[in-house]
């Protein structure tokens, strides 16, 4: 059996088991088993993939398989992975795994929460393993819908409004995306839905590409927080429960970047080349604008949401540079941002769970009250501002070096503008750290609060370890993804 199918089967089985679970203990046990299995599976897949590659297998996709679903429209369930998808699967598994522990004490209706949570994960996994446009779109939608319920039911604050806003905006994006996908399918002669076959045909007329590239790019870009379609992100994140924020910012937003790269750029190369400047301008705005907005926010989650806008903007920015270094940087940035932002949201959730406020003006001196969480927050902050040794540094540097190697004034200028984000990031991170963690505790109520519990410590330690691993030993990851990046870029040039 194809190992990739397990990425769909395990979540499905977990869903069934969750459905049948009778009490909290069973629910938790099922979730831990399921997410651990998925983590183990993706670790195994990574190792196996690397060993196959080093054994000399240079096929663009490994573990490929295809089953026809609907003959008249050439819809197949076709799967396969390259280095990029392997890295993304690994990232998703880490986030799903740690997210399970981060929502250990979620209330009420724990079982239902995990059901939707697992369904969302199923969509994410399915998306990353698909090589068929239709299947991919289907999994994409599967991942979006549970978000509405997860935020609307288990969220906080203006949850109904935010859930609706997020869903509508992402659905609007999907509408564009669907048109884009249909355009690609019919443009290439309506013979196949398989991405690689379409890429090999490379016969979509340029004038059609001009129409469908923006549609596809914006369709995915909405999820990747492309300016000006990013406003779902601050509200959505602010109202979502912890683990949903983690999964959403950590993985779901990566679907956007991945899709832009894998579908928009790969299948519509001529238009991508010609129109990239428009989107480069938009993403540069995202990078700087997101960071600047974050500087004056007062809600922890808003700060982090805008920070995500900035960092995800950098992902799209790098993809549009269309050279190997920058695109490798984009993938590294996706991994790095996924881990960092998950850590951030986890910590914010833990702090919020204790202080019942996310307003930075109402917290002070948390370092004295909850040292573990505070130190975790400082580490997350330092990782976020791109300190060497953490993953952010290598990702940002790869992006900047790659973007700078395009020899014309326009690209140079936008790269330098994007570079300024490293300073602005430092400003908003240190502002928060100085404000809420340092100083003497002011609120009497806060003095009684406790430090992290075991499940929280476990979540934080896992994520910090991953960020460090990526930051200290970047070469194996960049080796892993370079093959996939090369294949996509070979089609563009």
């Amino acid at each position: 059996m194809n190992i990739l199918v397990l990425f769909v089967i395990i979540p499905l089985l977990t869903l069934l088991a969750l459905w049948g679970s009778r009490n909290l203990r069973q629910t938790r046990a099922v979730m831990v088993t399921g997410s651990t299995l998925l983590l183990a599976l993706s670790v195994y897949l990574t190792i196996d993939f690397i060993s196959q590659r080093s054994a000399g297998d240079t096929a663009p996709m490994l573990y490929t398989a295809s089953v026809t679903w609907f003959e008249p429209l050439n819809i197949c369930f076709s799967i396969g992975v390259d280095g990029i998808s392997v890295a993304m699967l690994l990232l998703s598994s880490i986030i799903v795994f740690t997210g399970t522990f981060a929502s250990w004490r979620i209330k009420p209706m724990t079982k239902d929460f995990f059901l939707w949570y697992m369904l969302l994960s199923l969509g994410v996994y399915g998306f990353f393993i698909s090589t068929d446009l239709f299947t991919m779109f289907m999994f994409y939608e599967t991942a979006l819908i549970p978000m509405y319920l997860l935020i609307g039911v288990w969220g906080s604050g203006r949850k109904e409004y935010s859930a609706m806003k997020l869903t509508l905006m992402l659905m609007g994006g999907s509408a564009f995306l669907l048109m884009g996908i249909l355009g690609i399918y019919f443009g290439s002669g309506a013979t196949t839905m398989n991405i690689h076959e379409i890429a090999a045909l490379n016969n979509i007329p340029t004038e059609l590409q001009y129409i469908f590239f923006p549609m596809t790019f914006i369709g995915f870009g909405v999820l990747g927080a492309l300016f000006p379609f990013h406003t779902w992100s601050p509200d959505g994140h602010a109202c979502a429960p912890t683990s949903v924020s983690m999964l959403h910012a950590g993985v779901l937003m990566k679907l956007g970047g991945y899709g832009c790269f894998r579908i928009a750029m790969y299948l519509l190369p001529q238009a991508a080349e010609e129109l990239s400047w428009i989107f480069i301008v938009l993403t540069t705005i995202s990078v700087v604008y997101g960071a600047l907005s974050a500087v004056s926010q007062t809600d922890l989650k808003y700060i982090n949401a805008y920070s995500s806008v900035s960092h995800c903007g950098l992902v799209l920015f790098a993809i549009l540079m269309m050279n190997r270094t920058a695109c490798t940087g984009a993938i590294l940035q996706m991994l790095s941002h996924g881990l960092m932002t998950a850590l951030f949201f986890a910590l914010i959730g833990m702090i919020y769970g204790r202080t019942h406020t996310r307003d930075i003006r109402q917290m002070r001196g948390l370092m004295k009250i909850m040292p573990f969480l505070a130190v975790g927050y400082v580490i997350a902050g330092l990782a976020n501002l791109g300190l060497p040794g953490f993953s952010g540094f290598i990702a940002e540097m790869t992006v900047f070096v790659g973007a700078f190697s395009i020899d014309d004034t326009f690209h140079r200028v936008v790269t330098i503008i994007a570079c300024t984000s490293i300073v602005i990031t430092a400003v908003y991170i240190l502002r928060v750290v100085g404000r809420i963690l340092y100083g003497e505790p002011e609120n009497e109520e806060h003095m009684k609060l406790s430090d992290a519990t075991w499940d929280e410590r476990f979540t934080v330690i896992c994520l910090v370890a991953c960020i460090l691993a990526l930051g200290v030993l970047p070469m194996w990851v960049s080796d892993l993804i370079s093959g996939g990046v090369n294949d996509v870029l070979a089609n563009i040039h």
Binding site: S296, T325, M367, T398, A426, G434, M475
Partner: protein, 646 residues
């Protein structure tokens, strides 16, 4: 030289151990782990330097670079990548000695100074982290590795300045230090990007073939890198973070903000020196002018500060500016013709690290004794703290440039290099050197001479004018005074090191010889400065001093407030960036970008509400609508002639 890897690994291990398990350790154990590791690192560093220099010169008469380790850490493209490794050159060997010596002294000193402090283990962990990063910076094989450790040094500095994290001033200072240096690092990064792209490598020594194409942009790249260096080395106007950084524990100021990290910028320029000379001599001169201005500015400000650590901070800025000027006035690679400044700068870096470390540690002992940073609470301390007094005096004489102390020799070489460049530059720097002597001895007299604040307080207590019995100032414990004595000995002896034999601009042996005229002038000027300080401050504030203060009231006030530069920066950050840009953007995002989306949603809803009454469910209404519709359609069809009766 394979063992050199241990120089980096040991402090890192110590950091990891103290960082993870420090909380459970008793203070003593943590302190010992940190200090012993550092002792081992010091031994290894000295051994590395000795073997390196003992290895002798190669056939060309230079010390060859040794690269015991180098591996590819992060590949960017076929040609560009970040390598990690260890590269030993003469200045690296010197920096290893400087860093490990001062760091070891600070580690030992802190055992006494930080005794019983909350977070003692954290303090030692951060010290180890800093030492690791600083050592990594100087052994870097390429500019990107240097940048990487550069950032790590910045963050360790941030953590240590903010060590007393409950003190608002310390929080603000740490934030300011990090953000200002990060701002400078942005330019450094862009410089590196330009450099990497045009030369095709991040190595310090690009291939000549690539250089022809890079010729035009290299000066820009080097200038940008210098801005990065100016941030760390506190050159005007990026110096504003350094005085505030004194909020950190005093030993930290000695290590990071006097001896090692702040000279990173000087080291950077020295490391890139062949490129500066070969491709961008005009940038070097910009460096010289920036340095000269900074030296004067900092010296003026240092003359009127009242917090002893601030005086030392401004004196540090001024002295680093001397080193920068010295590099900047170079015009060639040959130490005999225009390259003397390189050697002089490195020499001054070396001696300055020792005596400035000594000054700060001495200041720490004083602060420890009187529990204040303010000069007004000191005075007459020489009776109570003889060891601190003598060592502090030695350091003051050294920084003032009095022979035979080390500062005299290095500063003299700098002045010679300045006079070689141009007479105005030489005279200017001589004047600043005289000011150095003045403000250092002003500091010295106000601390150790004059009326004792303690005795005054005691007298008031005995008369019953104040209720609290003042603390009697006490000499520092052995753990603190021993490092002082060691550094004082080094300060006395370092001047006699034949420095030019080891380090010179083209790496060939250079014998230092005194320029008698320059030496005589500078000594005379220094003595004049000291004499003025003696007259003005020996017995507290004299009448002359009060008169001068009264006459120069306005400029002194301006200098005391550092010419209001901090206010300017505060205005830029708070008013312009925060209030003027960030808040409007946040508002724009909420109300315009998001608002238009909300408007769209509202419009849809409104449209729905407007149409809703038509779906009333009333059969009569429906049938009337139906009839009207049919009639209308028929009329239209008739009129357009699509259908006709006949």
């Amino acid at each position: 030289m394979g063992f050199t890897i241990l120089i980096l690994v040991l402090p890192l291990l110590s950091f990891t151990l103290l960082g993870l398990a420090g909380k459970k350790m008793p203070h003593k154990v943590a302190g010992l782990i940190g200090t012993l590791t550092l002792a081992a690192v010091t031994v290894l560093s000295y051994y590395a330097a000795i073997t390196y220099f003992a290895g002798g010169r190669d056939a060309n008469g230079v010390y060859a670079e040794v690269m015991p380790y180098c591996f590819r850490w992060l590949p960017f493209s076929e040609t560009l990548c970040i390598d990690m490794g260890i590269l030993i050159t003469p200045i690296t060997a010197m920096m290893l000695i400087v860093i490990s010596t001062v760091s070891l002294m600070v580690h030992i000193y802190s055992l006494g100074y930080m005794k019983g402090e909350r977070g003692f283990q954290r303090y030692y962990a951060f010290l180890s982290l800093f030492t690791f990063s600083m050592l990594g910076l100087v052994v870097a094989t390429n500019i990107f590795q240097m940048y990487l450790f550069w950032e790590l040094v910045g963050v360790s500095s941030y953590l240590l300045i903010g060590f007393y994290y409950t003190k608002p001033a310390a929080i603000a200072a740490s934030k300011k230090a990090f953000i200002v240096t990060r701002f400078a690092d942005l330019f450094f990064l862009i410089g590196i990007l330009i450099y990497g792209y045009y030369t095709g490598t991040f190595s310090f020594t690009p291939q000549d073939a690539m250089m022809t194409s890079a010729d035009a942009v290299l000066p820009i790249a080097l200038l940008l890198m210098f801005i990065g260096g100016a941030g760390k080395s506190a050159m005007f106007p990026l110096h504003i973070w350094l005085p505030d950084a004194m909020e950190g524990p005093t030993p930290v100021s000695a290590l990071i903000h006097a001896a090692t990290m702040v000279v990173a910028g000087v080291f950077l320029v020295a490391r890139m020196f062949p490129l500066f000379i070969g491709y961008a001599p005009e940038v070097l001169h910009i460096i010289a002018y920036v340095g000269a201005f900074t030296a004067l500015y900092a010296a003026i400000v240092a003359c009127v500060q009242t917090d002893i650590k601030r005086v030392l901070a401004f004196s540090t800025i001024s002295q680093i500016a001397f080193m920068m000027v010295s590099l900047g006035v170079c015009t060639g690679m040959d130490p005999h013709h225009g390259g003397l400044g390189y050697m002089a700068s490195m020499f001054h870096l070396f001696t300055h690290a020792m005596f400035k470390g000594l000054l700060f540690l001495g200041a720490g002992a004083i602060i420890h004794a009187v529990h204040s940073n303010e000069k007004s609470e000191m005075g007459g301390l020489r009776k109570y703290m003889p060891v601190t007094h003598i060592t502090f005096l030695i350091a003051c004489l050294a920084i003032a440039g009095i022979p035979p102390f080390s500062g005299f020799f290095s500063k003299d070489e700098i002045l010679v290099a300045c006079y070689e460049f141009s007479t105005p530059m030489g005279m200017f720097m001589s004047f600043v050197a005289a000011m150095t002597a003045f403000y250092m001895f002003r500091l010295y007299y106000l601390i150790f001479w004059g009326k004792s604040h303690y005795e005054e307080q005691l007298a008031r207590y005995n008369y019953g004018q104040c209720s609290e019995k003042p603390h009697k100032p006490h000499e520092a414990p052995a753990s603190m005074s021993v490092p002082l004595i060691i550094l004082a000995i080094v300060t006395c002896a370092a001047g006699f090191i034949p420095f030019g034999e080891f380090i010179s601009s083209n790496s060939e042996a250079y014998t230092i010889h005194m320029n008698k005229e320059v030496a005589a002038t500078s000594v005379l000027l220094a003595i004049a400065g000291i004499a003025l300080a003696t007259v003005m401050y020996k017995n507290g504030t004299s009448r002359l001093t009060r008169k001068i203060n009264w006459m120069l009231h306005a400029p002194i006030k301006a200098a005391y407030h550092r010419f209001y530069l901090d206010e300017v920066w505060l205005f830029i950050t708070k008013k312009i960036i925060f209030k003027g840009i960030s808040q409007p953007i946040a508002w724009f995002d909420r109300h315009v970008v998001d608002g238009s989306l909300d408007l769209l949603a509202k419009a849809t809803q409104k449209a729905g509400t407007a149409i809703r009454p038509t779906q009333s469910g009333n059969l009569q209404t429906y049938s009337i609508c139906f009839l009207i519709g049919v009639l209308l359609l028929t009329v239209i069809l008739f009129l357009t002639g699509t259908v006709s009766i006949l």
